[in-house]
């Protein structure tokens, strides 16, 4: 089926590398808008298109070659000072990068791309000829003929490059159609060309800019696929710094040596030697192994870490296009691009961050008039920041816009039937802000095209939670809103709390655990037939783990673990707990019992199931809760 039989590897390499290149070109274009005469930028952008063209040629992607060639020619003239960057030219260029990205998408699906839109090609040709701007017709630029490929026979004389020319002219054929001079005939075709992103819906802008994955379709909050599903069809290769690989190699060598030491000690001990020296040596060797293994673990983990800058690169262009389509002026400021995040996580963060940025641009940031009226600079700033805090990565999307009105949010949520009046009355500011993350919430009466359908923000939350992260909102009226995403450093190691039901241990993600409480039967109240407990004024349902698993409860649960999930908090009632562990998650291939996220091995060698709390809760939804009697000693006896 593929147009690239036998070239798949090459194609993958090309797409990864050229994709990065295009993202950096996109960013440089945003910069170029601010400093249109910056020679270095023009040069780098020129080289970007040039390089993509070169690679595309080997893939026989002629349409991509044609488009890059035209754009490259345009930049050649721009960098030589023969043309000026005008708004019209800028728009044509922006469209060209969009089109290049579309072509990458079809390449990714193994299909040769369709030709670029004829208006775009025509506009580029006009731009090269210096006549894209109707008003400005720089005579000097118009006079200078655009570069024509040298398929012409060389003039006589000079060094022996005649032979060279001959060799060249065979391969130049492939390029001939790619380099038509800006013909006057192109003019009528371009007449109807509207080089502006406003013609495109913001959805298109995002699709263009992000490319491949459109998983989180609006209106389908459940569309977020499981990790395993989404793993397929995405780029499974990773670029690792050789220094890091060497470290892994080095450590595994050291571990080999320590293993040898242990083997010899074992035979000593088996032969009856147990003097202090031998035992001391054993102690040392085990201690060393311990150290080496944890070093190796972190070294291996580091090979999965990628600078978040690769992800951030995509966004300035998206923000710019969105802002323009809304008639706003927004600058996206990137901070902490060197922060490293697990590769899988980077990919899963791409969509949520887009939602947050477009939310900031659409809802957060005011119109230029309004900003002027309130004494703010017309151009607003949206800051996208990443940093590491302890064993967490923190991502911020902050705008300097109008901020959120807690009162209005609550009123809206009540009106939409998302919360009750009573609930609204007990909510503090932070809880009110978090309402925007509920499915079906939208504060605009008329949904705007960009982010007003109240979908997306709940998907953001779902996706962040899938990564074992949390999302929080800070906002100040008139000053702006900040979304704070907190993520674990890696998905490979999950800190868990090991809880026990009878003798059987289970692991629950520590990120969901808020605290552990002793369960006192007298503190349990029954509300609406369900056992609840009041913790610092908050009424929380008590759910015994045995009940969630469908087991019988031998004794009344002795401890409660206060769990916080996306939707709610509750107390997980258990018999006892065994402490916390850093679990290395092993997924159960082809076999996934309901409510089990994976398995791990404890330090004592015991195998433990890691529970998927959300799934367990879903399985009992509708009949949430158990009567108080479960927690009474006599009830347990009779159970």
């Amino acid at each position: 089926m593929s147009d690239f039989q036998g070239m798949e590897d090459l194609l993958q390499d090309f797409l990864v590398e050229a994709g990065d290149l295009l993202s950096s070109v996109d960013n440089k274009l945003v910069d170029l808008e601010k400093t249109p005469h910056e020679k270095g930028l023009l040069n780098e952008i020129f080289r970007g298109f040039h390089t993509i063209k070169g690679g595309a040629g080997f893939l026989n992607a002629h349409e991509l070659v044609t488009l890059c060639h035209l754009t490259e020619n345009l930049f050649d003239r721009l960098r030589n000072g023969e043309l000026e960057v005008t708004r019209e030219i800028m728009d044509a260029i922006m469209d060209a990068t969009g089109s290049v990205r579309e072509m990458f998408n079809s390449l990714e699906h193994g299909v040769q791309p369709d030709p670029a839109p004829p208006q775009l090609l025509a506009a580029l040709k006009l731009a090269i000829a210096g006549t894209l701007t109707a008003a400005v017709a720089a005579p000097a630029a118009a006079a200078a003929a655009p570069a024509v490929p040298a398929a012409v026979a060389p003039s006589a004389g000079g060094p022996d490059w005649g032979g060279l020319m001959q060799a060249v002219s065979t391969s130049v054929a492939a390029f001939a159609p790619a380099a038509p001079a800006a013909a006057p005939a192109a003019a009528p075709a371009a007449a109807g060309f509207q080089p502006d992103v406003t013609g495109k819906s913001p959805e298109d802008i995002i699709k263009l800019a992000v490319g491949r994955r459109t998983v989180d379709k609006p209106g389908n909050p459940n569309a977020a696929p499981s990790r395993r599903d989404s793993e397929k069809g995405r780029d499974n290769s990773i670029r690792v710094d050789t220094v890091r690989l060497d470290q892994v190699l080095n450590l595994s060598g050291e571990i080999g040596l320590t293993k040898n030491r242990l083997t010899s000690l074992r035979s000593d001990i088996l032969n009856g030697r147990s003097d202090t020296d031998t035992l001391h040596a054993l102690d040392q060797a085990v201690g060393q192994l311990d150290l080496l293994v944890s070093d190796l673990q972190s070294a291996v983990m580091k090979t999965r870490m990628q600078p978040v800058g690769r992800l951030f690169q995509k966004y300035p262009r998206i923000a710019r296009d969105l802002a323009r389509s809304l008639g706003k002026e927004v600058e996206l400021v990137l901070v902490g691009e060197e922060t490293e995040i697990d590769k899988t996580m980077i990919e899963d963060l791409a969509d949520p961050i887009i939602h947050l940025i477009r939310n900031a641009v659409d809802h957060g940031v005011e119109s230029p008039e309004k900003r002027r009226a309130s004494g703010k600079p017309e151009k607003s700033q949206v800051r996208l920041e990443a940093r590491q805090e302890g064993d967490h990565i923190v991502l911020l999307v902050a705008d300097d816009g109008q901020g959120m009105d807690a009162e209005r949010l609550r009123a809206k949520a009540v009106e939409k039937g998302l919360i009750t009046d009573e609930e609204a009355n007990t909510m503090d500011e932070r809880q009110s802000f978090n309402l925007v993350l509920l499915p079906g919430f939208s504060t605009k009466d008329v949904a705007s095209d960009v982010s007003g359908r109240g979908v997306g923000m709940d998907v953001v939350k779902t996706n962040i939670l899938k990564l074992n992260g949390t999302i929080d909102i800070k906002s100040e009226m008139g000053k702006g809103t900040t979304f704070v995403i907190s993520l674990p450093l890696t998905l490979a190691i999950l800190p868990v709390l090991v809880v026990c039901l009878g003798e059987q241990p289970f692991a629950v993600p520590l990120s969901m655990v808020r605290e552990i409480l002793p369960v006192n039967a007298s503190a349990i109240q029954e509300i609406g037939g369900r056992a609840t407990m009041v913790v610092r004024g908050e009424v929380l349902p008590m759910l015994p783990l045995s009940y969630l698993l469908g087991w019988s409860q031998e004794h009344p649960p002795e401890y409660g673990v206060l769990m916080q999930t996306a939707e709610s908090s509750f107390i997980l009632a258990i018999d006892s707990f065994a402490g916390r562990e850093d679990a290395v998650i092993k997924s159960l291939e082809d076999f996934r019992p309901k409510g089990v996220a994976g398995v791990t091995t404890l330090s004592n060698g015991q195998i433990v199931l890691i529970l998927d709390i959300k799934e367990l809760l879903d399985s009992i939804s509708g009949q949430r809760g158990v009567p108080r009697s479960v927690f009474m000693p006599q009830a347990a006896l009779s159970a």
Partner: protein, 134 residues
């Protein structure tokens, strides 16, 4: 004819996909001894410290481009004998003249096939042998 497996190539390009393409094409032709450099400056360093027999260089690169590399190679008494094949996406007349004047042994335009590359290499080796015989 020289033994292809003994000839050590240096492929210079800032785009790693392109380096891989060239490396694969060379391998197809039996030239298995290939090292890579990301730009002219790194290439020059490698050339000065390693035993290379042949340079295949892209033209358009950051830091030091292919033409500057070529000029530097020709200006270095230890390297000036090295055959240099220039690769570029452009078939512009002035580029070819510039390359020829700077002392390139050959010039090849992207995209090319293994056969085209082989032709070019064969021509360069022929020329080198003739020069050696003369």
């Amino acid at each position: 004819m020289l033994d292809p497996s003994k000839i050590k190539f240096l492929v210079v390009d800032d785009f790693s996909t392109m380096r891989r393409i060239v490396r694969n094409l060379l391998k197809e032709l039996g030239y298995v001894h290939v090292d890579e450099a990301e730009d002219g400056a790194i290439a020059l360093q490698k050339l000065r410290s390693g035993e290379f027999d042949f340079v295949v260089s892209d033209w358009n690169m950051p830091n030091m481009d292919g033409l500057q590399l070529l000029q530097a190679v020709r200006a270095d008494p230890g390297l000036r004998h090295l055959p240099v094949l220039m690769i570029t996406a452009e078939a512009k007349k002035e580029n070819i003249i510039a390359a020829a004047q700077a002392g390139a042994h050959g010039y090849i335009v992207k995209p090319f096939t293994a056969a085209t590359l082989n032709d070019k290499l064969a021509k360069i080796f022929d020329k080198l042998e003739q020069a050696a015989a003369a």
